[in-house]
Amino acid sequence: MPADPAPVLELDSVSKLFGRVAALRELTASFAPGRLYGIFGENGAGKSTLLRLIAGLARPTRGRILRWASDDLHPALARMGYMAHASLLYDELTALENLRYFAGLYGLAASPACEDAISSVGLDPALSRRVGDYSQGMRQRLSLARALLHGPDLLLLDEPFSNVDAGSAASMAARLGRLRASGKTIFVVTHQPAHLEAVADESLWIAAGEIAARQPGIGAALAASTGVTQ
């Protein structure tokens, strides 16, 4: 594949230490825009930490992260969307109230962006139920809607398929594929690589804080289990 110019994300010897524990060890990698990257690995390998660093929620102990060729985090924030294990939503508010608030944080007009975002993940924007009373799967989908609300160019999703039934996971994956086709860059951390089979362009296997393998498609997950590394 020809190398795209202007990588959307570059990791330059990025390390993250928590006290004396190294969660990430001198990661160096470059990621082209408009592709979907799967990030796989054992529990505790550092996948979530990596996503948090890219999102700007944590700062690397050493090294630099360049987003759109700049190490200044602030201008990149409006162009990134983040989804985590936790829902990042207020349990006492309805879906629409939640998204209206977050729209305000991004300086967006609330309608119709919020209603559209909620509908696009298969939920009812008019639902007056508190998010705290939603099922896990519904909350997951709403969290995705929140991440997509402001139309970010770079999406960071941490376990989007957990607690979601197979049908919804498939439609979520298809949605991600469409987003990628429209030029967005997507990083997905998951323990279920099969969901990304149709849409992943490349995948990474993170082990002990390092990129142990990088393969096209979801190859990294298979490579790791057979012990083949890059």
């Binding site: 230490l17 006290g19 004396r20 190294a22 102990t61 804080g209 142990a212």
Partner: protein, 234 residues
């Protein structure tokens, strides 16, 4: 440690002994008698603790300003902040203990809410809470949070002083060390200043030792971190 430390220790010891000599040989105070001599330790402790806290304020500002551009300078500034806060609290405690020890035999009261003593008490409270914060803050956030708190705390001090001063003009009470602008015999001033010099030297010695301890701890953590980075199977 090296010969510089030894020299400073000797110098400090000499100053402390000389200060003691001057304190004991200064003219006896008219009304208070021998007990007044505690004043030569009470006041320099106060001045020294204030110098320490001011240094802590500066170190906190430097830490916040430089930690991103120059992590090494930031670390050093943080070590200074810890050292000056701890030593400052020690001297502050001395002031708060010597105060009542002096006041009781002389004026018959343990405590007086005069501007200076009260400000010292509040300074002590602020910096003890600073030390608690350092202790209880999670992981690597301690230096950042502590620096912020130190700046806010230090900004409070002039306001405390002004507030109590005004309060005292309305509700006067005895002032220790004889109010503002009360005259002091030159020989007494001399003894006071020598003891201040001695305490400053002593304070500097303690800060230096504590600073080195903090730096060693930082370097040790860095070594472990580096080992963690390099180690581990691929």
């Amino acid at each position: 440690m090296n010969y510089k430390f030894l020299v400073l220790t000797l110098f400090t010891a000499v100053l402390l002994f000389y200060g003691y000599y001057r304190a004991m040989s200064a003219p006896e105070e008219l009304t208070m008698g021998e007990v007044q001599r505690i004043f030569y330790y009470h006041v320099p402790s106060a001045w020294t603790s204030f110098v320490c806290f001011f240094a802590n304020f500066l170190a906190s500002v430097v830490y916040l300003a430089r930690r991103k551009s120059s992590p090494a300078a930031g670390q050093a500034a943080d070590a200074v902040a810890v050292a000056t806060a701890e030593v400052g609290v020690v001297f502050c405690t001395i002031v708060l203990v010597t105060g009542p020890l002096w006041a009781r035999p002389v004026w018959g009261i343990w405590w007086t809410w005069d501007a200076r003593l009260t400000t010292t008490l509040i300074l002590w409270l602020i910096y003890v809470s600073y030390l608690f914060l350092r202790h209880y803050a999670a992981g690597g956030q301690a230096p950042t949070l502590a620096s912020v708190v130190a700046i806010i705390g230090f900004l409070d001090v002039p306001m405390v002083y002004m507030a109590i001063r005004w309060f005292r003009t309305q509700h006067p009470q005895p002032v220790m060390a004889g109010g503002e602008g009360s005259g002091l015999d030159p020989a007494m001033w001399n003894a006071l200043l020598w003891n201040w010099a001695a305490f400053l030297a002593f304070g500097f010695l303690l800060i230096w030792m504590r600073y080195n301890l903090a730096r060693f701890q930082q370097l040790l953590d860095e070594r472990h971190a580096l080992a963690a980075l390099k180690g581990g199977a691929r």
